[in-house]
Structure formats: C-alpha cells, structure tokens
Symmetry: C2
Subunit: 366 residues, 2 copies
C-alpha cells in the first residue's frame, strides 16, 4: 500500500467499524465513548457516526494524567467504593466503547500494587455494569504506545491501521471473513481432546476435552483475531518458553520459561523481571494454573508491540494465561491474576490437536 | 505584577477556588466537570482537588468540534428529546462546573438559528436538572477566546487570571470581600425606586421598586462581580446607547441604540448587525422588554472582550438585558431571548438611584 504508507487509521472509517461491526449501533441506542483527550479525533468521529445512526452519543474524554492520579490521590473512600457518577453513567448506556489512548504505558509503574488491586476491587461494580452492556475495547495510536512498541509514531499508526483491517477496501467484510474462518477452526478444535505445543524450549501438552472455544472476531476487542478456551485445570504437563516480552501494567518481563506438572507451575524463570513473575505466581492459588489457551490469527499484526490487546492476536502465535479463566469457555480457574504469555510459533514451532497439525511454522493448516 | 506578567490562571489555584468558593465541595459530593479537551489542565487539577476534598469527581471533556457537530448532525430525535445519557449523568450529581473552552467563538455562526433554538428547547430538561444542582459556569482561556478579545493568547490568559482574582494572595478572600461590598450596594439599591442612567447618547429611567437585587459574587459565575435585578416591566423610558459590542453566539452587533416607551422598545438601531438586532427583538413579545438591569463591579476586568460572562462584570459598566428575567429578582418578563447589552459609564456616564449617585464616571460612590 505504497500511497498510504504512513497513514494512520482514518477516524471516520474506524468509527464506522466500531459502530457497525463491533457494537451494531441501532436507532435510539445510548452509546458511551470513554477515553483520554488523546483520542479526541476518534471521539469526534464516533460522535458523528453515532448521531448518523440516530443513536445517542456521550463522548467522555479525560485528561490522560487521571489514570495515575486516580490511584495516587485516592483516599479511603475512593479505594473502597465505586465512583457513583461513573456507575450511573454506565448504567444509563446500551453500548460502550473504551478506547485505550495513554500518554505513557508506565503510569502505574511506581504505584503500590496493593493500591492498584484495591482500586480495581472497589471499581468492580462499574466493571460488571460495563460487561453487561454491548461493549468493545479498542485503542487509538499514541506516541506512548508507539514508544512501547519501539516504533516511530507514524509507523505505529500505520501498523495499527493494518491490525484493524482499515487498510482493506471493506474492513467490516474483512472481519466477517475472519469470523467465518475462525468458526471453522473452532469447530475443528471443539472435537479435540489433547493439545500439544512444540517449539524451541517448549514441549507442553494439555487437555481441552469438553471445553468451549470462543471465536473472538473483533466485536469485543478491536482488533481481535483469536480463538481461545480454558485448558482443563489439572491437565498441563511439560515446559513452555514465551518468546514475546510483556507483563502487567507496562512492566517488562521477558524470556519466561515455565514447567507445569498436572496443571500447576512447578518451575518458573525469566531472563528479565523474574521477581515480578514470581510475585505474580504468588498472587493466589489460581495464579499458578492456566486460565486460557489462545491461538492468534490476525495477519495484520506481524510483530509484538508490548500491548497485549494486539500481541495476543498476532497470527502464528499461541498464548497461555496464568490465572483467571473466562466462564464462557467452561473454565473454572479463579484468580485475581490474568496474565497472557505469548509463544511465537513462526520459527519452527507447531501446535497439534490429537496429533493433527493446527499451526505449523506459524501458519494455520487448512 | 511584573514577575507574573504573562502568567495565566494557575490550574491548581483555579481548581481550589472553584471547589471551595464556588461549589463548597464536601466529602462524598458527586461533582461533575464538563468542558472541552482544551480545558485539559484545569480538568486534571479539578480531579485532584475534588479527590483531595474526599468527594467524587467525574471529569468529562468532549472534542471541541462537538459544539457545532451537535447542531449540524442532529437528526429529528436529537432536536426533540434530551440526550438520555447526559440527563442521567447530570441527575447523578450534587454539583457541576461547566468550563467554557471553545476552539472557536463563531462555531454556530452558519447554523440555522431555528435549529439552534430547537436543540436548546430539546435540551431544556438537562438544563433544568443542572440548575437544580450547586453549579458554576466558568471559562478557561483558549486562543479563540483571546482572538475574540483581540488579544494575544498569553496576554488574554493573564487578563483572565486577574478577572478571577487569581493574581491576589487570597483569591477566595478577595471574592468574600467583593461579596461584602456588593451586599452593601444591594442594601442601598433595594431602598431605591427609580434608576436613571446617563451617558453620551443615553438618558433612560426605569423603576426597580419592590424588586430584589441579586449579589452575584462569583459562586455561580466565576468570575462574577455584579449586582442585578429586573426593572418593572412597563417602567423604562428614554434612550440608551450600548458602547460595548456583543451579540448572541459569537455574532457581533455594535453601536446599538434603543429607545423605550413604557418598557417597550419603540426604536432600535445598530451601526453593525442591525438585522440581527431586529430579528432578536422579533423573537417574541417579551424580547422587546427588559429582563435585567445589572451593575458591573469587577475591577480585574478593565476592557470588553466579546465574552458576556466577563464583559457584563466589568467595573464601571451597566447592562440591560432584552428578554427573559431571572425569577429570583421578582421580574416576570418571559422570552426565549436573554441578550445582555452593555453601556460603559467610565467616560462621563452616571447611574443614579432616586437622584443619588451610585456610579459616577465608572466609579461606585461610597
């Protein structure tokens, strides 16, 4: 796409995709748009698009410094109760799009994790009210996200445009096609009992027998492009090396290698950030077990960026999450942790289901 | 103030003034902050200040283009019903600060006035819900407001700082002093029956007998600095020339001269914008009568800027509004119009109450 080599996502095309594919905005719908002031252009485009669909927009952008300020300046009340105004706002909506548009990806690096956890718990009723709506989580390119990816701001915006399929003539059509392809993959995986992942430093087996696979086709995460389930809680055995760096709240943990026995992590190493890895595993009992196995299918995402919303969707990778399972998969592992760790299969790796190849050298087998 | 010659309002001092003097924010209060993304710094400072007062902030900034977009892209539904999400949001608040921070002051210049009026009517329930709260209307300097004032952006910010009394060691104390001075003025004016305004091209008498005067001391308008009432509806006689340009929604009408007989405008001229003046007078029956007489007392405001929130507070000026009276004054004139017109008394003008001087050459008489 030489003529559009440095173009970021067009806000109007992006807004149309969010309204039509992700949220299916209909006349009279009350649609909230929450982000920071850095997503001003996309917020304005969504306002237009929502009005044009004869629905009610509320575009509420906050100063980007509030992400940290909310933690640092919180008093007892703010750490133990949900904000009643936010709760009322979410309660008045039919649909909600949250746009990740940070001024920095390490805003919470210095905040006491116990304080972060307390605020997360206090805000749980808001989160639950939001999950009861039609909702979508997306991102808008910012210099901070580009920096986290180690890319130039303009090049990163172009990359995000591809990840969103906004470089294609019919973005919603492209997502529909992805959805159909993934539906076939889900049908195949739902017949499988045993999954084996092999790559350099990796040979892990786990069972998915009887579990449901979710077709994540860009409606709740934009971009998406993954199918996922929860492995049986005591089934994982072997060792896996995660080649993509990442970690909670902008931290960087890399070179993670885990050995599991009957579903539980019995050995854990990291080249960088090992203390953080061990602390995460000690969160609670469920943090030492797997809550998710996912397979990325998004061919617009060709490299890791440090942002999990994108990285876990990368075609040719699989990810395992330590901690909480999503109930819609049938998984029952509970934890305050949900940390996705990504294993790149593009350089000689493979994933097989009951011995049949599913991903080989990063490519999905037909 | 040489060392602070080009300083704008300090966001934290401004936020403290709004929280403590204007809204009296108390623990547990639910406080909304509505503005555009151009007021990002003040919004962030208010968020901190509200948290520090153990209250609940909701800082909701919108893209500045929405002011026009809301009118231009509105469909039938949006022109006839209030936005249910905004209504729910305002309904969840105890206190509200609206910060005027436009990207342009002529955003609505090309919008059909009938459409503007329709949207205003549709949004009336939101407006009423907001007026039932503790509320404050203020502004944050923007390049557009500076341009409207014919000033440089930095010089304008310094000017606004003075208008807010944020150049004083104890801003809230300065507002308290103004409030006390105005209380004496109100006590004096409430004994008056007949007001006479004289200046070049101006000799107008009107009655205020039995009407209440409001001490506008910066709580609902920040900045403020005026006392106002509603003249008796059939009492105004004479001619008045308004030397300060201004007009609804960023329009400029200047050199207005009105002749009134028994309270009704019987002659109207303007050097610029006469058609707009005549159209305003034709809004409805109440638009040809006066709804307000106000006396500006803010010595931090030494020149007109085109922004009525500031101009009508200018020390040494009086203003009359065509149209709607504020019920708290006892005035009964009704109209969809409320257009403040300002007469500068600083160059030989005077206002007398029952023959006694109140303002002479722009200065309040002791």
């Amino acid at each position: 796409m030489s003529e559009a080599g440095v173009a970021g996502p067009d806000p109007h095309a992006f807004a149309a995709l969010l309204c039509d594919w992700c949220l299916a905005v209909s006349p009279g719908d009350r649609v909230g748009v929450l982000s920071t002031t850095l997503a001003c252009d996309l917020g304005a485009a969504l306002h237009s698009a929502i009005l044009a669909r004869d629905a009610w927009p509320l575009v509420s952008l906050e100063p980007p410094s509030l992400a940290a300020e909310r933690h640092l300046a919180a008093r007892e009340r703010h750490l133990t109760e949900p904000n009643p105004v936010e709760l009322a706002l979410v309660g008045a909506l039919d649909a909600l799009v949250r746009i990740h548009a940070p001024q920095s990806t390490t805003e919470l690096a210095d905040v006491d994790p116990a304080r972060v956890a307390m605020l997360t718990r206090a805000r749980q009723p808001i989160q639950e009210a939001a999950l009861a709506l039609r909702w979508c989580a997306t991102l808008s390119p910012t210099p901070a996200l580009a920096q986290q990816a180690g890319m130039g701001t303009a090049a990163y915006a172009t990359f995000v445009r591809r990840a969103l399929f906004l470089d294609r003539p019919d973005p919603a059509g492209a997502w529909r096609e992805l959805s159909e392809r993934q539906a076939l993959l889900v049908a195949r995986l739902e017949r499988a009992r045993q999954i084996r992942i092999q790559a350099e430093g990796t040979d892990l087996t786990l069972s998915v027998a009887g579990r449901r696979w979710v077709n994540s086709d860009g409606r709740r995460n934009m971009p998406s492009g993954e199918v996922f389930t929860a492995p049986l809680e005591r089934s994982a055995n072997g060792t896996i090396s995660f080649s993509v760096p990442g970690g909670p709240r902008g931290s960087i943990v890399s070179g993670v290698r885990l050995t599991l026995k009957d579903g539980e992590v019995v050995e854990a190493h990291a080249q960088r950030g090992e203390q953080r890895l061990l602390a995460a595993l000690a969160t609670d009992e469920g943090a030492r077990r797997l809550g998710e196995l996912g397979i990325g299918t998004n061919t617009g995402i060709d490299r890791p960026t440090g942002e999990i919303l994108l990285d876990e969707k990368m075609a040719g990778t699989v990810h395992l999450a330590l901690g909480r399972a999503y109930p819609e998969t049938g998984g029952i592992n509970r934890s305050a942790l949900h940390w996705d760790l990504i294993c790149d299969l593009r350089d000689g790796g493979r994933l097989t289901a009951d011995g049949e190849p599913v991903v080989v050298d990063g490519a999905l087998e037909a």
